[in-house]
Symmetry: C2
Subunit: 334 residues, 2 copies
């Protein structure tokens, strides 16, 4: 990549044609995509709109790369809100000197993940900055989805008695990035959990009339997601340590490094809340798709007294406060 690739002229048009639009195949050469879907016109339907920048380091890691995470992350932000993801934009900030071959791999990965999620990448942008003004490549994806009439997932709807369920083991993404940086001389095979959760959310929303809300447990991990939800709903959440699904390799890594898997980032793991009568239906729906094979109940919602928002019943029978992450556990995790 040279600075000319970002200059607006011939070099940029050639790059965009060869590396980006030949793969994403947008319908027009205008600067904007023009879109419509019958679902958007349905009475009571709403649009969902979300954005995320991705700066993960390294840009390629076991189980994914920055392209896969950029598509999954935005698809998931739409899906956990109850929206059917439809269209994505992708904006690239590329450091001068970045290999074109790396960009091609990232773009191929985005296309494959978009196809899997049933979304189209319809518009984009590229900027090139000088050496040392960025680190290889940053990607910002934005997404539009449609929320069908009557669906209203919202943390504030969570109420005492509700049950918390996760779909997958915790902490795999954080552990994968840590291992991939090679700073720890860890040789265990640690793939990220990076995955799109659109099909999972569609199955649960269909099966569970009492689905209150869902949130993907990305930066800050499960602990931060639970604290946000408890805070917005004005309730207390108690989770049970013996129910938390964590792989032995991740547990081991956390013990060695003094990390808490509850705060490790995930990229394909969500927590959702349903009323007790819908727990079996939720588990069955989740297990009907590959991303939900590991679905388990991890906790319950209680009245909020004056006590802490999120607590964990430990293996030894005690109770521990699970607070928000205060500092930074691991920079550039996504």
């Amino acid at each position: 990549m040279t600075l000319a690739h970002g200059g607006g002229g011939k070099a940029m048009r050639d790059l965009i044609g060869e590396v980006f639009t030949s793969v994403f195949e947008p319908e027009s050469s205008e600067d904007q995509a023009r879109l419509m879907s019958d679902a958007v016109r349905e009475p009571g339907a709403r649009l969902a709109f979300t954005t995320d920048s991705f700066v993960v380091d390294p840009v390629e890691f076991p189980g994914g790369d920055i392209g896969k995470i950029a598509v999954c992350g935005t698809v998931n932000d739409l899906a956990v809100g109850g929206a059917t993801p439809l269209w994505l934009s992708a904006a690239f900030i590329i450091e001068e000197g970045t290999e074109i071959a790396l960009l091609r791999r990232i773009v191929a990965s985005m296309k494959a993940e978009a196809d899997r999620a049933g979304v189209r990448i319809v518009t984009g942008d590229t900027k090139v900055v000088g050496r040392g003004s960025a680190d290889k490549v940053f990607i910002t994806t934005s997404g539009i989805g449609v929320i069908p009439a009557g669906r209203d997932l919202c943390a504030a709807h969570v109420q005492p008695g509700d049950v918390a369920i996760v779909n997958h083991v915790l902490g795999d993404h954080g552990a994968a990035i840590l291992a991939a940086r090679g700073e720890m001389a860890l040789s265990a095979d640690m793939p990220s959990d990076c995955a799109g959760l659109g099909h999972l959310m569609a199955a649960v929303a269909q099966a569970c009339p009492t689905l209150r809300c869902a949130r993907d447990a990305t930066r800050g991990g499960l602990a931060s997601a639970l604290n946000e939800i408890a805070d917005e709903a004005g309730v207390a959440v108690e989770i049970a340590e013996d129910t938390l699904p964590i792989r032995a390799e991740v547990k081991g890594m956390c013990e060695i490094l003094g990390l808490d898997p509850l705060y490790l980032a995930n990229e394909g793991t969500l927590v959702l809340f349903v009323a007790p009568e819908d727990v079996d239906a939720a588990l069955a729906a989740m297990r009907s798709v590959p991303e939900g094979q590991g679905a388990v109940v991890i906790g319950r919602v209680h009245d909020s007294g004056s006590g802490p928002r999120v607590t964990m019943r430990t293996l030894f029978g005690g109770a521990r406060i699970v607070d928000m992450l205060v500092g930074e556990q691991l920079p550039r995790i996504c």
Copy 2:
């Protein structure tokens, strides 16, 4: 800014609350905005969706800053396609050590410009990267607009006989950035033309049934915009040098530095094409808003022979080929 501000925990939530959401005032604390507008549901209406990353250096310059340009750029990409801009997302990649006061100024500038354009910034994201992994702050905005039924602006619709009109003097943004970098020891007051063009486009689209297309002449300048349009329409465009509006200071700077104002970037200047019978109506509509006070005819469309796509009749009566920009005139212009 510290890395903890991007970590997903308490520091990040405090930062987002204090610096971003207290100004943008999104309606919900969910990761997605939920939106609808009557205009979207009109029969025949389409959504417009666009994205751009902004990496301008310096981040503050006469006439604007990276926040203003990030809002105007995306508003303009929607507007030149005939869409009414409705909603914006804003994603920030911030270098560790960036002053919070700078962020506050940028955010205030975005809010002011969004208000002026009549759009809402409804969702966002922040990531923090280590010192030297980015340059102060990069912003990616995406935008959703609605294109009313029956409106179809498209470069391919431009045809022989059509007239090219610009709204404003050329090259002010490129000249402003060059001067602001201070490398040239130029002391002239050179403000950028950075401006939102939504109201201008609404006025022209209303007044001119034959409006074919419009394009903002950003990176690569007027020359690149004209070449793209001529290429997509399969026509030739001839512009007249004596009609091109360029400020004397910009002309002088270009002469000293050997730059061509046709390739200098603009951030509030567009070129549009109408049939000859609509020229007077277009000029009147453009001049009815502040951003169109400088509206002038600059050229005409001809049959494409085997000759070059874009030519300029010079002051001396000759003809000069106006090609696409080949290399990079000025990096990080937007």
